[in-house]
């Protein structure tokens, strides 16, 4: 229960956008996700394919005795697939599914750093019109040290409920 509460709290705290973000690279862009969402970062390991799942769900891995699903964020965002290398990482995030806390791994090109983003550095998301990673997925754009970081709403990106629905 405390676990659930903790994750729920982190979900709410994202409404306040300023804070610490873990940044990672995907193609040429830098993305950031709220640090409280991140459980851990692991290197890419062998993934077991699960049939009848959306194409961006790469399968499941063993996270210390727990079986968790792994998504390829590139595929999820409609980017071209890339061969995994030693810089490829799985960011394990905590989400709140309908049946309680859920851990999901996200494959990214590489993990960069943790940055502190102030409220004044964040701009609202520009509207791109209809593409996959637009609108609800993006919390805002942060300008830190001259670079632009796209702040993602992990719950929306992974869309746990939508995913649950699509599998039935």
């Amino acid at each position: 229960m405390s676990e659930t509460e903790r994750i729920a709290a982190s979900t709410h705290s994202e409404k306040v956008l300023a804070g610490k973000y873990l940044t990672f690279a995907l193609g040429k862009e830098q993305y950031g996700i709220g640090i409280l969402k991140v459980r851990e970062i692991i290197g890419v390991m062998e993934i077991t394919v699960v049939p009848h799942t959306p194409h961006y769900v790469k399968g499941v891995i063993n996270l210390r005795g727990r079986v968790i699903p792994v998504l390829d964020l590139r595929l999820k965002f409609g980017m071209e697939a890339k061969k995994y290398n030693e810089r490829t990482c799985v960011i394990v995030v905590d989400l709140l599914g309908s049946a309680g806390p859920v851990q999901v791994g996200m494959l990214v090109d590489s993990v960069s750093e943790v940055v502190n983003v102030g409220e004044q550095e964040i701009e609202p998301p520009p509207s791109f019109g209809g593409s996959e990673a637009s609108g609800a997925d993006i919390l805002g754009m942060a300008k830190v040290k001259g670079a632009v970081i796209i702040l993602l709403d992990v719950d929306q990106v992974i869309g746990i409920d939508r995913l649950e629905g699509s599998l039935v």
Partner: protein, 756 residues
């Protein structure tokens, strides 16, 4: 568990299940219902349905009145509640259609009870949570005993004062301990009582009932829970008489002890509610009737009037006020002998004799247990990986080998123990059914024998609670609608005593629970008619009786024909099905008109260990439950047949078995595409045989089924995952699903075979 996460339909389903189970007089269920509605009302989703919110609040009021005894808790009222739930279910099912009308309909349902609701107060903002317990005050009740009218409502618990409860909050830990303990004792009492009914003269059992009452009395006195203390004390006195042979143990005593047990449970639950949710949940209990009845029994008078009906007579107000609250300040402590007596007062020998037989046990948080199981699993895998490290393999050291062997013995033992901790025998759940059957048969005037087998079958701890409600519903169904009354049974040449069989056993990687009665069975014709009425099937549809019978599980099927026939209280068997399906199980009914029906629940061993054969398909490995495997072979060319170019089959010992190419089904690259080069594993599920085509058999292993995580459930053909020896995840196949998804070609194949 995480009840706050429940969706609206889940709340309603749970409520529906509760209402099915509730027995007049069993206020603990009413309390649970109340909790559910209140939780539902706080869920954000419900805000979209204003009518539903109002109906929910109405529901709360009715429940509170029933708890207070202002409305009788009889079958009619439960039926009304059931109708109300099914109205709400309809609204949710149709995503809000009829929401604007539902409240009026619900008011109509309760109109006969004399309940008059002032609609305005229901519109009041819900943020006024603190006033919840005051609500009944604003709705006035116009019952036949009009003199009690608004007065009773005004005396409802909201008016009570709690300034003087210093001990209560200070003793939170102690109180929490008491609650758990009390529940255990009450459970023990019930089991023992029912046993006593079989052997009324067994002094040991009487002692086993006496002791927990004694303990409850002692501790509640110590904690200043006066009402509980008084009730336990009075009951204890009665039992003491029995123990000392001053009176006989007869059905009067058994009945009163059982209902006192129920009442105590409600009261203890209420204390828990108060602890968890605050004072608002305080309920005043009136135990005078129990006390009086016990006195009557002690004095040898025949019991006057049933306890189960509480009269909301005019005297109630006065009594309510006069009653000491459970949290009264110390001072005039009435039960003299036991103030501050936590230990038995030398009246009874230490209960060691019974304890030793049961074995000591401790309670462990489920999360910790899961953590332990996971850690042990990892330990086993790491050990294997260390052992297979080439450097280690290179060291031919006999001592190292011996140590490794020893280490693996220890880890295996550890794993086995950790696993078994999560499994519990189904016995406890079954034992609760004894009481149910007893009560039901008594009330309906039927004589029913409950025969239980396989109580030692172990099921996953997490399933125990979830399986209870569906089980109760089906037993109810069997007794209410299945078994006939003795006279009727004799007329058709059946023994007067009906038999309900409750069985549990393990089969094919599943746990089976069967409820079989020898009653009248389902009337397929009637079901067909109703199904046509409801538009579920067409007039000309050719359905077998079996298919027809299983229509009773369709949502909305029995709601049509309320309170009669197949349904009980306006909510149908679909809640059972849902309950079972939540456990990823299945339920079906077999019935022969006139001979009886049999409900079969099939549950997976979700978290249990299964024996599996690991197979390889391309680079993937899958686990096939060993129990489903008939044989495996490399097929010979002459036994291979294709059928119409659509399906393919193998002729194995005169039987044509369809082939399923696993790599095709799962979309993976395989090494072989020719069945005669690959290996086929012949499996059987639900009486159907299939040959699964795989590349290689890798070995046999006991594996732990793990769920693929919250949102990867319901993948056709996959029952779960497991961690294999090298740390990777392997998928466990769900054969029923696999066969089901490749089922379309089956009928045709078999037809061809017959022609050939």
């Amino acid at each position: 568990m995480a009840k706050a996460d429940l969706a609206l339909p889940d709340f309603l389903d749970n409520m529906a299940l509760k209402i099915l189970m509730v027995e007049p007089g069993d206020l603990s269920v009413v309390g649970e219902l109340l909790e559910l509605v209140e939780q539902m009302l706080t869920s954000p989703v419900i805000k979209a349905f204003p009518g539903l919110v109002k109906t929910g609040r109405l529901f709360v009021i009715v429940l509170q009145k029933m708890i207070m005894g202002e409305l009788p808790d009889d079958n009619e009222n439960y039926e009304r509640l059931g109708q109300c739930i099914s109205l709400m279910q309809d609204v949710v099912r149709t995503e809000g259609r009829g929401d604007e009308k539902i409240f009026e309909q619900a008011v109509g349902v309760f109109a006969q009870t004399g309940l008059v609701i002032d609609p305005e107060f229901l519109d009041a903002d819900q943020s006024d949570e603190g006033g919840d317990s005051q609500k009944p005050a604003s709705a006035s009740l116009q019952t036949d005993e009009s003199e009690s009218g608004g007065e009773v409502a005004a005396g409802s618990p909201g008016a009570l004062q709690f300034e003087g409860l210093p001990d209560f909050l200070k003793d939170r830990d102690l109180l929490g301990g008491f609650i758990d303990e009390a529940f255990e004792h009450l459970e023990g009492i019930e089991v023992n009582i029912l046993e006593l009914e079989q052997n009324p003269d067994d002094l040991e059992i009487i002692n086993n009932i006496f002791r927990p009452f004694h303990t409850i009395k002692g501790v509640s006195g110590f904690l200043n829970l006066k009402v509980i203390n008084k009730l336990a004390h009075t009951t204890e006195n009665l039992l003491d008489d029995v123990r000392n042979n001053r009176r006989k143990m007869d059905s009067d005593v058994i009945d009163i002890v059982l209902s006192v047990g129920d009442q105590l449970r409600v009261m203890v639950q209420n204390i828990r509610d108060i602890l968890e949710k605050g004072m608002d949940h305080y309920i005043e209990f009136d135990i005078s009737e129990y006390v009086e009845q016990i006195r009557n029994i002690q004095e040898g008078k025949k019991t006057a009037g049933s306890l189960r009906r509480r009269a909301a007579g005019p005297s109630t107000v006065a009594e309510l006020k006069a009653q000491p609250t459970p949290f009264d300040t110390p001072g005039e402590t009435e039960p003299d002998k036991n103030t501050g007596a936590l230990r038995p007062t030398g009246r009874e020998d230490a209960p060691a004799s019974t304890k030793s037989a049961v074995g000591a046990s401790i309670k462990v948080d489920i999360e910790k247990l899961d953590g332990l199981v996971n850690a042990v699993g990892e330990l086993v895998i790491m050990q294997a990986m260390v052992r297979q490290n080439p450097m280690i393999i290179g060291l031919y050291d006999p001592k190292l080998n011996r140590d490794f062997a020893q280490l693996s013995r220890i880890t295996t033992e550890l794993q086995r123990t950790a696993m078994s901790m999560r499994m519990v025998p189904i016995r406890q759940t079954f034992q609760k059914m004894i009481r149910l059957v007893r009560d039901l048969s008594k009330k309906s005037g039927k004589v029913v024998d409950l025969i239980m087998t396989g109580e030692e079958t172990e099921i996953d701890r997490n399933m125990v609670d979830s399986i209870y409600d569906p089980l109760v519903h089906m037993i109810r169904n069997s007794i209410d609608h299945g078994v006939q009354v003795p006279a009727e049974r004799e007329k058709i040449g059946k023994p007067a005593v009906g038999v309900v069989n409750l069985r549990a056993y393990q089969k094919g990687g599943h746990i089976m629970i069967e409820i079989e009665d020898d009653g009248q069975g389902l009337n397929s014709e009637k079901i067909r008619k109703k199904a046509i009425e409801r538009g579920l099937i067409q007039e000309g549809d050719a359905l077998s009786d079996h298919e027809l019978n299983n229509l009773i599980f369709i949502p909305g099927f029995s709601t049509a024909d309320k309170i009669t026939d197949v349904s009980g209280r306006g909510v149908g068997m679909d809640v059972v099905k849902k309950g079972v399906e939540k456990l990823r199980g299945k339920v079906e009914v077999l019935s022969q008109s006139g001979k009886g029906s049999q409900f079969i629940i099939r549950l997976p061993l979700t978290l249990a260990i299964i024996d599996g054969i690991i197979v390889r398909v391309g680079s993937e490995r899958y686990i096939i439950p060993t129990i489903a495997i008939k044989e495996s072979m490399r097929p010979k060319r002459e036994f291979y047949n294709t059928v119409h170019g659509r399906g393919e089959a193998l002729l194995i010992r005169e039987t044509l078995i369809p082939i399923i190419r696993l790599y095709e089904l799962f979309g993976v690259e395989s090494t072989y595409t020719d069945p005669c080069e690959a290996i086929v594993v012949v499996v059987e599920s639900e009486g159907r045989q299939r040959a699964l085509m795989v590349d290689e058999l890798l070995g046999k292993q006991e594996v732990v089924i793990k769920s693929l995580g919250g949102y990867m459930k319901e993948i056709p053909g996959v029952a779960g995952g497991t961690i294999l020896g090298d740390g990777r995840v392997g998928l466990i196949l769900d054969l029923a699903g696999i066969i089901g998804s490749s089922n379309t070609v089956r009928v045709e194949e078999e037809r061809v075979v017959r022609n050939a």
